[in-house]
Amino acid sequence: MRASLRDAVTLRECVKRVVETCGDMKLLSVGTMASALRAGHAARGFAVVAADLRVTGDTLANSVRPLDQLADALTTLLAGVAVRRRRSAALRRAGEHGAGGDASPPLAAAIRAAEAHDAAAEESLRVLRLALAGRLDVVNDASAYALAAARTAKLETTAAGLEGQRLAEAARRFEEAIEGLRPSLRELSRLAGNLT
């Protein structure tokens, strides 16, 4: 296994950025919805689009939440691997000091047990990598939909009367946030793919 503690930290920090951005987008969409409600009957069109942004913001925020848990599980797994690696390395070094460079039977058994742990950890890592990839697919779909919703909202501002400017601003910020999110998602996919 090549994955290290540093990989876990890099991935987790990337997940933190994604989760934070999605949280901000959710707040933005809630704010837009509140503006629509305050505007009342005069801005019915605005309210429909704002509600769409709100649902989209919710969907995106919910879709990234499991990423946090997966990053947590990955960190715990790789920290445990780091502990076992140090033990395995010490056992192997001890084995090299045996007669003729061979480990004594009890030591050899301990080394085999450590290797079995390594194999189990590799399997856990494979499962986590698949789960991360699956979750990133869901997040990517949600972000693509959110981007489309933001662009639609921008188009609809032309017909939103006095509320149009506010909606246009909210939609623009929403779109910018998603555009800013997508490089982090690509980086996450790359990091997750490299976990071997």
Binding site: R6, T75, A79, V83
Partner: protein, 244 residues
């Protein structure tokens, strides 16, 4: 699962504790790990043993980027304090570990190289964390012969290693001491046996009584805050410890 809690925050200056692990194996004593963050850099106190490293590392990473940790402070040399050193060094081999000069050739048995250890002289020292001056306060023979605590004069937080430690039963999960009289029962036997010298105890109390302290943070058990800090110092002053 261990959890990280922010116990002090003012701008980019924070104290975070990773505390209480109800899922830890019963044969391993529970520990508190503290992180001081200031201006984008962090210092980790008594990072714990290698057995609990995965739990500490995962909990800490939820609120701090571990790559910002520049230094480790070891109050003394015990395994529950610093045996995870080699694992932290895997994340950053340039980390420096501050500890009593007595232990700078002992602690590297847990990991590190000739550059890892930074010796604290017996009289104490000031440790710089991105412009924040942290004081290594002598606490020798309480319980280790080379023992330091860490004082943050801005946050008014004193990390006290094993002093103030309480071996709490599993149902007492609170982060802070809520009922001093009930709490201190769990600290009594520990201090009576582990703290080796009444003379050392009096010297330490004289020293820390002069410091303004809002939070007294031990490595085991709950944190003392507000009036409970003075209560604890008085209680400790009255307690006969070690060989007497």
């Amino acid at each position: 699962m261990k959890k990280a809690h922010v116990i002090f925050e003012r701008g980019a200056h924070r104290w975070i504790v990773v505390a209480r692990d109800p899922e830890r194996p019963g044969h391993v004593i529970d520990t508190n790990e503290y992180v001081v963050e200031h201006a984008g850099q962090a210092l980790l106190t008594d990072p714990g043993g290698s057995e609990i490293f995965p739990a500490v590392f995962a909990a800490l990473g939820r609120v701090v980027d571990p790559r910002t940790i520049r230094a480790i402070f070891a109050s003394h040399q015990d395994p529950d304090v610093i045996s995870s050193l080699g694992l932290w060094l895997e994340l950053d081999p340039t980390l420096r570990c501050h500890a009593s000069r007595l232990w700078t050739t002992f602690i590297p048995h847990f990991g590190g190289d000739g550059q890892t250890m930074a010796a604290i002289p017996d009289q104490g020292a000031t440790l710089d964390l991105a412009g924040l001056a942290l004081e290594a306060v002598p606490a020798h023979y309480l319980h280790s012969s080379g023992n330091f605590h860490l004082y943050d004069p801005v946050a008014r937080v004193l990390f006290t290693g094993d002093i103030g430690a309480a071996l709490l039963p599993p149902d007492r999960e609170g982060l802070y001491v809520e009922d001093f009289d009930r709490h201190i029962r769990y600290a009594h036997a520990f201090h009576e046996r582990w703290m080796g010298s009444n003379e050392a105890k009096r010297a330490w109390i004289d020293r820390v009584s002069k410091l303004p302290i809002d939070l007294l943070c031990p490595q085991h058990g709950a944190i003392y805050r507000g009036a409970d800090v003075a209560r604890f110092l008085q209680w400790f002053s009255d307690l006969k410890v070690g060989i007497y």
